[in-house]
């Protein structure tokens, strides 16, 4: 990774480097020598069957779980280097949308424009609505707004659209894609391959191992298929198997 002192002159294009990360739960290998890089301004989708290790990898990259071996290097210097949206996030039900975001904003060192955060995800019309009165999709939008507070260099979204209708799914992917710019990269895990096909890079996990990675076009070309969904099935097979990993994917 680039040295912070030389950042202005030699800042690397690589924001995150995951190198030889392995993790097991007892006898089960959840991740085995996983390596990949994420560039600034990019959207990277991690795809894989259930139990392939996606959530474990997201936890490790976020810093919520320590890998058994391997290194994670993040070239970021903000007071919140990583923003995170867990699967099916819930917030304190007695608070409103605005109060929830204000609480998280108060944890940051730099002031945050809460109105802009709500506007960005389409919640600006319901600032006073309590969390327990939000739909599942709106709660996910609230989580998304929270994940980008403080302008983190890397935003990690763990299955941000699971269980949502197509319209809400599109909205969330559009917001996530819009968040990626010169200083921010987005890493998301998903089963929604139609939207993963719009990512800049795709990492395919199977049984805790990266079986391929590259742009969606590269993956389809290598598997001689016409879509990312077909490429995915060509890589992991069509027969469901018992996969590794616990506590999610």
């Amino acid at each position: 990774m680039s040295d912070t002192n030389q950042e202005t002159t030699t800042r690397s294009d690589t924001l995150l480097a995951v190198k030889d990360v392995s993790h097991s739960f007892g006898d089960v290998n959840a991740l085995d020598d996983v390596s990949f890089d994420i560039s600034r301004g990019s959207v990277t989708a991690i795809i894989g069957p259930n139990g392939s290790g996606k959530t474990t990898l997201a936890h490790i990259v976020t810093g919520l779980r320590r890998p058994d071996s391997g290194e994670i290097a993040l070239d970021a210097s903000s007071d919140r280097p990583i923003g995170y949206l867990p699967q099916s996030p819930r917030f304190r039900p007695v608070f409103t949308v605005e109060e929830t975001l204000q609480f998280y904003a108060d944890l940051l060192f730099t002031p945050v424009d809460i109105d802009a955060a709500m506007e960005r995800v389409g919640l600006s019309d319901v600032p006073d609505r309590r969390v327990d009165a939000l739909s599942g999709g709106m709660r996910r939008l609230l989580g998304l707004a929270q994940s980008v507070l403080g302008d983190p260099s890397l935003v990690i979204l763990d299955e941000p659209t699971s269980g949502l209708d197509p319209r809400m799914t599109k909205q969330i992917f559009d917001i996530a894609a819009g968040q990626a710019d010169d200083d921010t990269a987005v890493l998301l895990t998903t089963h929604d391959l139609s939207y993963a096909a719009n990512a800049d890079n795709v990492v395919v996990l199977n049984r805790g191992t990266v079986i391929d990675s590259g742009s969606p076009a590269e993956l389809t070309a290598r598997t001689n298929t016409e879509s990312l969904a077909e490429a995915f099935l060509a890589m992991v097979g069509t027969t469901p198997t018992v996969q590794t990993g616990t506590g999610g994917d």
Binding site: H59, L64, R90
Partner: protein, 275 residues
């Protein structure tokens, strides 16, 4: 180190959560009704007699109240996924635990002290019966009762710290309830029973009994109440736990519980190397 701004944010969030939760108000009402009800129906004729009347119920009520207030204090954030989110902010686990604990403590102390102070209004100032006069040689005074209120507040703070620690360790609400009930039983009765059996079995000698009594939070609290509220006015000799050891014991229970909670709050310290 505690970060003041982030501590205040967490503290205010806890207070607002409790203030807006209906079940918490029902709990407060129940505690208030029982405490004041005991004062009314006991018809005591002095502050020290009222202290003695309330002492045993309070020894049971405080663990129950703090269990209800504290057992989900950290667990609920973890169940919702907010603990994972909080770890991506510049918020240390110590600051988080301090904010959660102090927010819950502020509410608990409000309920406990208001209930005890209102109960004090039930003291009858009519001439006490002869047997009461025979039991107390000193001059009854609200000062002694105020000491009881302060000691009870300290006791509540200690047990709440235990409950917050418990909340950082359990992984589900069901286990949290079971664990909280076990802590209530162990703290309120269990340790005392072990000491009683120790005395009966000859393991604990009479000379060192006051030191052993100080080990249990309840016995330490009871010992301090006996030493600073009852002894000054009681005609009979009261032999409580060692006051110094009791105070040290309560302090240790408080500090160690919160330190362990701070260590356990973030299950895994971040390993991501950020330049």
């Amino acid at each position: 180190m505690i970060d003041t701004d982030r501590f205040v944010a967490v503290f205010e969030r806890e207070l607002a959560t409790l203030r807006r939760t209906r079940s918490i108000w029902l709990l407060a009402l129940g505690y208030f009704a029982i405490t004041v009800g005991i004062g009314v129906f006991s018809d005591t004729s002095g502050y020290v007699p009222l202290t003695l009347t309330l002492l045993t119920p309070v020894e049971l009520l405080i663990p129950a109240l703090t269990a209800a207030v504290g057992y989900r204090s950290v667990l609920a954030d973890r169940e919702r996924g907010e603990t994972s989110i909080l770890q991506t902010y510049p918020l240390g686990p110590g600051t988080y635990i301090a904010g959660v604990y102090c927010g819950r403590l502020a509410w608990t102390l409000l309920v406990v002290t208001v209930s005890l102070l209102v109960a004090a209004l039930t003291v009858s100032f009519a001439s006490p019966p002869a047997d009461v006069l025979a039991e107390y040689t000193g001059i009854d005074s609200p000062v002694y009762y105020f000491r009881f209120v302060v000691l009870t507040a300290v006791f509540a703070a200690v047990i709440l710290a235990l409950m917050v620690l418990l909340s950082t360790l359990v992984r589900s609400a069901r286990r949290g309830i079971v664990a909280a009930l076990m802590v209530v039983v162990v703290v309120a009765i269990g340790i005392d029973l072990v000491i009683v059996f120790g005395v009966a079995g000859g393991v604990i000698g009479g000379n060192i009994l006051p030191w052993y009594l100080a080990l249990s939070p309840v016995s330490a609290y009871r010992g301090l109440v006996m030493a600073y509220v009852v002894s000054p006015v009681a005609a009979t000799v009261v032999r409580p736990a060692s006051p110094l050891m009791s105070a040290i014991s309560l302090l240790l229970w408080l500090v160690v519980s919160l330190l362990l909670a701070g260590i356990a709050a973030w299950s895994t310290p971040s390993h991501v190397m950020s330049e």
